[in-house]
């Protein structure tokens, strides 16, 4: 008995010893002075427990700057580093079993009261810190998969969210731009940087606010940017990635003739040194993952293709995730610095895009009129091919310490081809089909557009006095050559009708903008901004339509042909008072604007002159009680001019069932916007809250007036209406537990929209209420990551014209992703996404589908830089693209066939000049 007792006690003692041994923290690191070059000797380093401020341990740095701080158990504590020559440095450490040995290869001490206060946080080896108002994430401390791109990294960063379209929000606020080392990467498309740059080339990810220089009119508006700072070695030498994937033509693509092998290929190569950067990228694929850029909108000035508010029966038609895509993208990026002090910077980039999209979609719409209801069924096949060459140049020169001169020309050359075939069936309330049509459109377009900015920015010896003078020139020039072929069968009348026309559309515009903006400080906290904008612009649209007569297109159709000019002269001036302290920002201003518009019908020589005066007030208040807490109220007003296609008084019969006519009397709209936002983030606990609301009210809003004929075909034009409004509120939070291994993210949004339209002469007011609760959970263990997302959206549209459309509907979305890595280099990834559209309208389809993807991969080579993976996309073959839109008096259910099940065998090889495993480098600066 005694023996067992002793054995037991000694075992307990052994385990206590063993665990105590294993659970001691060990912090090692090297200290440097503020230049980052001289090791710092004899600095004091102490660990203070967060819970009760108990001193856990302390040490001094050695001659070579190194230090070891150990001898205390795992805990959450702050490290204070002090040296009389520098300001104190703070690092927060969340110790746990996986995070008990931390190496901080290089700590640079902050200079005395020169630098902004800096706080660094280590949680699960994730240092995050604030440098003044800039939130800094140290990239290497976030584990990403081998071969990961920046987007994968961004998804790991606490407080940052990326949605399916690549839109990024930080603590609930939208990121407007992604920069690389402070500059735009290939143009402004953020996904080019986030989807192409290798995650391990990134040193830090910084989020800060920046004055938006892109806006014409010298506004003081600030945008949030995400700046990817490249590693020093990434700035010197090269790194790259090449990957290829194919299904070996083993996937039969349903309803697609022949076997079409799926493929994905990527090449990325970056060569850098401190002054010069050359990057080359290419991407080719025919899978849905190809969409690394967002669709190039407004490419050819073909507003028919744009789907912007008017083609409501064809929602989503600008979204190329629907359909079967084929993408080729390639580009080169070059930048260099010149001059003795390297104060002139030149950037040049060229990108080539070739996108093809084969989309089949079907939609069912119900149009509600006071006396009757129409149904239409459309099925469309759209093939489009767009090719563009984009050249961007930017020369920026710091002429002296106060003066900056910038010249940024850019040119885009575009070529496009679209073939679309539409079959439409029109059914009346009784359910009897009255009309069946077949519409074919073939268009070939060519375009050239330029956008140039010349900007002089000057500071003065007097602090906060600033002057900006800039000139912008924007030109577009497009030509579209189209063929229209239609046949219509009037079932009740028993007659048929057909159209065969050639259409030439020539479209050009030139706009000059001159802006002067001047800031003058009037006291310690107050300054005044005086701002003046002059705009002179003209645009021209020539449309010529000819019927085919005896095999030749020479039957001129005057009702579809026109030549129209629009000239506008705008003078806008105003002043703004700005009050700014560390915590408060208050600005209020008033602008006066006069715009003189001449709409000139060059055929009939009828000139419509509009002389419009507006006051444009604005107000902004921002309260920042701390660097991670912010409250903003923003009110502004703006006025947008109608597009020329909405003005030109000519019929557009590209879809003879949906004829559009321009309205030369259309006035610019006037929009009031109010935004309220509140965000807070607690760096220590990782909890965050984002919330806000917005309200927009539009006067002279652009709305559609639609008239229906007996078959339900429409003719529409854009008119001005008052009282369109939208309001929404949203709030969300992140709540991590268990050393941030699990994070709960509940959120809720609600919206109300009112838009008006006219059906004939009757006003139709549609109110749509929607409420969307969402609940997400992220789990993150060492080798296992699970993410769970769920949302439910309830919508209740109410239309004044017809109560039949007032049917509430809901959308439920649940998704689960699992990423599991095994020690032998094998990884498994699965994700499932369940969607249920519950739409109890009369005869409208309910849809429910579950998309399940899986991947297994294995790493090879000593460096593990080669990954071979097998991917299965939509294993259950259920993927569809389905939406419902409620627009005016129409409810449309729309679905597109998209690529569903396919398999890919993929090889990905990463390389760099260091010939080492990409994640060997753990240092940060």
């Amino acid at each position: 008995m005694d023996f067992f007792k002793r054995l037991f006690l000694s075992l307990v003692a052994f385990f206590i010893c063993a665990t105590a041994q294993a659970q001691n923290m060990k912090i090692t690191g090297t200290l440097y002075d503020s230049s980052g070059t001289q090791p710092l000797h004899q600095a004091m380093i102490m660990a203070v427990r967060v819970k009760d401020s108990v001193l856990l341990g302390f040490t001094r740095s050695q001659k070579n700057g190194t230090f070891i701080l150990t001898g205390f158990p795992i805990d959450t504590f702050s490290i204070v580093i002090a040296h009389p020559r520098f300001d104190d440095k703070f690092i927060y450490v969340f110790g746990n079993k996986d995070n008990q040995e931390i190496d901080i290869p290089s700590v640079r001490m902050p200079e005395h009261s020169k630098e902004l206060q800096e706080v660094m946080i280590y949680a699960n080896k994730n240092p995050i810190y604030y440098k003044g108002d800039t939130l800094v994430y140290v990239a290497d401390s976030f584990k990403v998969a081998e071969g990961a791109v920046v987007e994968d990294l961004l998804k790991k960063l606490p407080g940052l969210k990326i949605d399916k379209d690549g839109k990024i929000t930080s603590q609930g606020q939208e990121i407007s731009k992604v920069l690389v080392d402070g500059d735009e990467f290939f143009g402004s498309d953020p996904t080019v940087a986030t989807k192409n740059l290798a995650a391990d080339g990134i040193e830090t990810v910084q989020i800060y606010e920046k004055t938006d220089n892109e806006t014409i009119g010298g506004s003081d508006e600030k945008i949030r940017v995400l700046d990817l700072k490249l590693k020093e070695e990434a700035k010197k030498g090269y790194f790259g990635r090449i990957s290829g994937a194919s299904d070996m033509a083993l996937t039969p693509l349903e309803d697609y003739s022949g076997s079409r092998p799926f493929y994905e290929g990527e090449l990325l190569f970056n060569k850098f040194n401190s002054k010069q950067k050359i990057s080359v990228f290419a991407l080719g694929s025919n899978t849905p993952r190809s969409s690394f850029g967002r669709g190039d909108l407004n490419k050819f000035g073909l507003s028919n293709e744009n789907g912007a508010n008017r083609n409501f029966w064809e929602p989503n038609n600008s979204d190329n995730t629907s359909g079967i895509p084929q993408t080729l993208k390639a580009g080169i990026y070059y930048s260099d610095k010149f001059g003795k002090k390297k104060n002139t910077e030149m950037l040049f980039n060229y990108s080539f895009y070739n996108d093809r999209l084969d989309a089949r979609s079907s939609s069912r719409s119900q149009y509600f009129l006071t006396d009757t209801t129409y149904f239409t069924e459309d099925s469309t096949r759209n093939y489009s091919e767009n090719e563009s060459h984009k050249f961007n140049l930017s020369i920026q020169s710091q002429l002296d310490s106060l003066t900056l001169l910038e010249f940024k020309p850019s040119i885009s050359i575009d070529k496009g081809l679209t073939n679309s075939a539409n079959f439409n069936d029109f059914t009346g309330e009784t359910g009897i089909e009255s009309l069946s049509t077949h519409v074919n459109n073939d268009n070939i377009s060519k375009g050239l557009s330029t956008n140039s900015t010349l900007r002089l920015y000057r500071k003065f010896m007097k602090k906060r006095r600033e002057l900006e003078v800039r000139y912008d020139l924007i030109t577009t020039d497009n030509k579209t050559d189209g063929k229209l072929n239609t046949s219509s069968e009037y079932k009740l009348l028993g007659i048929t009708d057909s159209v065969d026309q050639n259409k030439i559309n020539y479209n050009s515009s030139t706009s000059h903008y001159g802006t002067v903006s001047y800031f003058e400080p009037i006291s310690k906290y107050w300054k005044v901004n005086v701002n003046y904008l002059y705009e002179y612009g003209f645009s021209n649209q020539l449309k010529e339509t000819n019927d085919k007569v005896n095999g030749i297109y020479n039957g001129f159709r005057a009702e579809f042909s026109n030549n129209f000019g629009n000239t506008r002269v705008q003078n806008r001036g105003g002043a703004e008072m700005i009050y700014e302290t560390g915590k408060h920002y208050l600005s209020g201003g008033l602008y006066f604007r006069n715009i003189n518009i001449y709409n000139n019908n060059l055929i009939s020589n009828v000139v419509i002159n509009q002389n419009i005066n507006n006051y444009l007030p604005k107000f902004k208040y921002e309260y920042k009680p701390s660097i991670s807490k912010r409250f903003t109220v923003n009110y502004n007003t703006s006025s947008q001019q109608p597009a020329i296609a909405d003005l030109q008084p000519v019929q557009d019969n590209s879809n003879p069932n949906r004829i559009q006519v321009g309205n030369p009397d259309l006035k610019p709209n006037y929009v009031h916007r109010v935004n309220v936002n509140f965000n807070t983030w607690n760096a220590l606990s990782g909890k965050y809250i984002w919330s806000g609301g917005s309200f927009n009210l539009t006067q002279n809003g652009f709305a559609t007036q639609t008239t229906f004929d007996v078959f339900g075909r429409t003719e529409s034009k854009t008119i001005n209406v008052d009282g369109n409004m939208s309001a929404n509120v949203f709030a969300g939070a992140g709540y991590p537990i268990l050393d941030r291994k699990i994070e709960f993210q509940p959120s809720m949004s609600g919206s109300f929209n009112r838009f008006k339209s006219y059906v004939g002469s009757q006003e139709n007011v549609t109110d749509n209420f929607a409420i969307t609760p969402e609940f997400d959970i992220d789990f993150e263990w060492d080798s296992l990551e699970i993410s769970f997302e769920s949302s439910y959206s309830y919508n209740n549209p109410i239309s004044s014209l017809s109560s039949v459309s007032n049917t509430p509907f809901s959308i439920t979305n649940i998704s689960l992703g699992v990423d599991w890595k095994f020690p032998n280099g094998v990884g498994v990834k699965v994700d499932g996404n369940y969607t249920k559209n519950n739409q109890p309208g009369r005869g409208f389809y309910d849809t429910e589908y579950f998309v399940f993807n899986a991947e297994i991969n294995k790493k090879f080579l000593k460096t593990q830089n080669l990954t071979v993976s097998l991917l299965g996309n939509d294993l259950l073959n259920q993927n569809i693209n389905a939406t419902r839109t409620v627009n005016g008096n129409a409810v449309t259910d729309f679905r597109t066939t998209i690529i569903s099940r396919y398999f890919l065998l993929k090889a990905n090889y990463r390389f760099n000049n260091r010939k080492m495993k990409e994640d060997d480098f753990k240092g940060w600066y």
Binding site: Q42, M44, V48, D52, S53, L55, F58, V80, A82, P84
Partner: protein, 248 residues
Amino acid sequence: MTLKAGINRFLLFTGLLIVGNNLFSQINTGRIIFERKTNLKKRYGDNPRMKNFITEENKYRTENFELFFNDTSCVFRPIPEDEASSQQGFMKFLTNKNTVYQNLNKKEKFIIIDLWGTSAYIKDTMDKRSWKITESTRNISGYNCRKAIWQMNDSTQIYAWFSSDIVPSVGPEGFQGLPGAILGMATEDGGVIYFAKDVKQMELPTGILQYDAKGKDVYTEEKLKVMLKERMSQWVKPKDLEAMFVWL
């Protein structure tokens, strides 16, 4: 430029250099002079026998100590008093003046404790105290200090201001264990206050850190405490005895 102006400028420059040096450098070796102020009323206030002797006029007792230190060792010892302050009669027996040697590497201390006129010797390991670090700071004799708190017992806290610019982990009496030298120390109620009046970087006089324990009765702290409790219980309250040892 005249020669005089040049010299003035030179002096100004070196002056700045010296100031700058004091501000931004660290000390590893030197001497700190402490003034200890004891509020006897607070220290012995609840002792009815003492009440008759301690008045508002004589309640403060001020003594001076010096702390010599280098990277490995230190000694804290009283500075002999001049005539005037030694005329306080028996009052001087109300405070102890100890000499404390500490070997920072061996974590050992050697104490010559002053027991009402006779010396006793203690050799023991250095105490490990649990400090709480606060965010408050103050400047003592030109050094930026952080405030730390030690919970002495249920009722008393000791405040210590330490400067990490003085590298060795030293302090008055037997206090140490903070990342730097303690330049100010006080009981929560202000009954006893140590305050550095002067900090000087200097070479230490040879042998000043050496002690000679030969031929002396050397006790451990605990042993001496037990012994004193046994022998002195009729003179000294156990609480006051504890208070004596707390500082060692």
